[in-house]
């Protein structure tokens, strides 16, 4: 599903954010991406979500080469990737319904189909009663769940989450990860970038660890080992 082959990314100014990173993520797999701040987690997600282009190397998603994708094709590619961020990226002047419906409106779904899918997505994240609310009327955890509902409403192939539990307490964090697991059960490939080592240790999923732009570990690791790697 996702194939990174010797991918490097240097930002203007010369900062080397990723250095010859290679890995594969199979369809329907769920994994964590971890590392210190500045290790390259966000850059890796930006490359996958077509916000940045690699300086060298190749990235394939679902068999398609996206390293040199044309500008006009980027929106269509993004529709197959659900993205979740720590700051939720919700439109504060629109209702929860409108926020979640946005990807469907963009794709031109009928009003009836849009309503059906939005209600189903919000039901999945236990926010059915918040349809008419605005984001600022919800707690941080609820806003994050709205972000998840929006990312999944048009049934993407991949779900990328950048620090999705960053501002949440441990219980809410676990709830969010459980939600990702549920979607993963339906076949969605999930990659979660986080520096919450405790969470990683509890979940026992494959973990990709970045350090100064290089991939230093890749595999299911024990909690203490992960902690040890990251405290070096």
């Amino acid at each position: 599903m996702i194939h990174f082959n010797n991918v490097s990314k240097t930002y203007p100014g010369g900062f080397l954010a990723l250095k010859n990173v290679s890995f594969e993520l199979a369809a329907g797999e769920m994994a964590f991406l971890t590392g210190h701040s500045g290790a390259g987690k966000s850059t890796l997600l930006k490359l996958m979500s077509l916000m940045e282009k690699p300086t060298s190397g190749k990235i394939q998603i679902n068999g398609s080469e996206i390293s040199n994708i044309k500008y006009k094709d980027i929106p269509y590619a993004r529709r197959k990737i659900g993205m979740i961020f720590q700051n939720h990226n919700l439109l504060m002047d629109r209702t929860i319904f409108d926020n979640v419906a946005l990807p469907l409106v963009i794709e031109g779904y009928s009003h009836k189909e849009t309503r059906k899918r939005v209600e189903a997505a919000l039901d999945k994240v236990h926010l059915s009663d918040k349809l008419r609310c605005f984001p600022n009327m919800l707690s941080g955890g609820e806003q994050q769940r709205v972000g998840i509902a929006r990312a999944l409403v048009n049934k993407p192939l991949i779900l990328l989450a950048d620090e999705p539990t960053g501002n949440l307490d441990p219980k809410l964090s676990l709830d969010i990860i459980r939600l990702f697991e549920e979607f993963n059960d339906f076949g969605v490939t999930v990659l979660i970038a986080t520096h919450d080592l405790g969470l990683i240790a509890r979940m026992k999923y494959r973990t990709l660890t970045l350090k100064q732009g290089s991939m230093i570990t890749d595999g299911i690791v024990e909690g203490l080992q992960v902690r040890h790697e990251n405290n070096e």
Binding site: N62, I66, F85, K155, P156
Partner: protein, 325 residues
């Protein structure tokens, strides 16, 4: 899941009719939505519409002036009449002969003879000096021929040439064709016509820039929302459409404001103009914008609004990219 669909390609499989219907509905929704956006920012919207409307009013009013000046010159042109004052020594019989001769001119439609006695009668009646004239020894007025040229010969230049020809008749003392002021009016109208084109072009450019800047500010105001839309797969054309419709609405409303301003100005000027035309025994009334002209003005405003917004969206929307921060 859409596992079979390729990356970077539209995923939904819809029939042609369903695509057209969905697209049409989306256009209507976005057009109405952008009108709603203008409604939600009344101060900015009203200011922009007024600036646009007033900017278009100036060239439209100048156009109206040229149009009416032409109408005036045409009205007098076709009604132009040449007065030939005969020598005092010319007898009635000689004058009648001259009438017959002039009637044979191909440029002449009609000749009216006013004898010296009849002229005196008319003068007595119209001038109010009736009793004073009785004290004169002899009639001081000459016999007059009123020559009406054919339509073809009634244009300023042709009428002038006819006058020169008629003045060469030996019985004629003096001929008069009061068209000099019409020539001046025509020259002024021509000058204003050229000015209309120049000023109009500059004002149209300013309208494009005003709309472009208004849309630019609207885009920057919604920068975060645009970034989120791009993040969830919106194409540039989807994002830019409400802004293009905003330019269209600005054009429509600005065009309507301009039409209203021109109508008010025409009404205001008609009073002053009627005093002037009365001096020339004319019942000329100023004509405002016709329906076609008003529609053309609104269409021009719409084109300018769309152009301004198109330039702005092309430049600014592409520059906004989502960030992960």
């Amino acid at each position: 899941m859409n596992k079979s669909s390729r990356f970077g390609q539209p995923a939904q499989k819809l029939s042609f009719a369903a695509k057209i219907t969905a697209r049409l509905i989306r256009h209507v929704q976005q057009a109405v939505g952008s009108l709603g956006d203008l409604w939600r920012t009344p101060f900015t919207s009203i200011m922009t519409v007024l600036v646009l409307g007033i900017s278009l009013t100036l060239p439209a009013t100048l156009h109206l002036f040229v149009k009416n000046a032409k109408a005036i010159s045409e009205q007098w042109d076709t009604a132009s009449e040449i007065s030939l004052f005969l020598k005092l020594s010319v007898t009635d019989k000689a004058a009648q002969n001259l009438v017959h001769r002039i009637e044979l001119y191909p440029e002449v439609a009609k000749v009216t003879y006013i004898s010296a006695d009849k002229a005196l009668e008319e003068f007595k009646t119209l001038s109010g000096f009736g009793q004073a004239l009785e004290y004169l020894d002899k009639n001081p007025l000459p016999a007059t021929l009123l020559v009406t040229p054919t339509t073809r010969a009634s244009q300023t230049q042709a009428a002038g040439e006819l006058l020169l020809k008629l003045e060469k008749e030996r019985e004629v003392q003096q001929g008069k064709l009061d068209l000099e002021w019409l020539s001046r009016l025509e020259a002024i109208a021509k000058l204003i016509e050229d000015i209309v084109v120049g000023i109009g072009a500059l004002l149209c450019l300013s309208v494009v820039l005003i709309i472009g800047n208004t849309i630019r500010l609207a885009i920057l105001n919604q920068k975060d929302a645009i970034a989120v839309m791009k993040l969830v797969g919106a194409t540039d054309s989807f994002i830019q459409r409400p802004f293009l419709y905003a330019g269209l609405w600005y054009g429509v409303l600005g065009g309507v404001v301009s039409c209203i301003c021109v109508a008010i100005l025409a009404k205001y000027l008609s009073g002053a103009l009627s005093e002037l035309t009365n001096l020339y025994q004319s019942n000329f009334t100023i004509s405002g914008l016709s329906f076609v002209e008003a529609m053309t003005l609104i269409l021009l405003a719409v084109i300018l609004g769309l152009s301004g917004s198109y330039i702005s969206v092309r430049k600014h929307i592409r520059a906004i990219e989502p960030t992960a921060d």
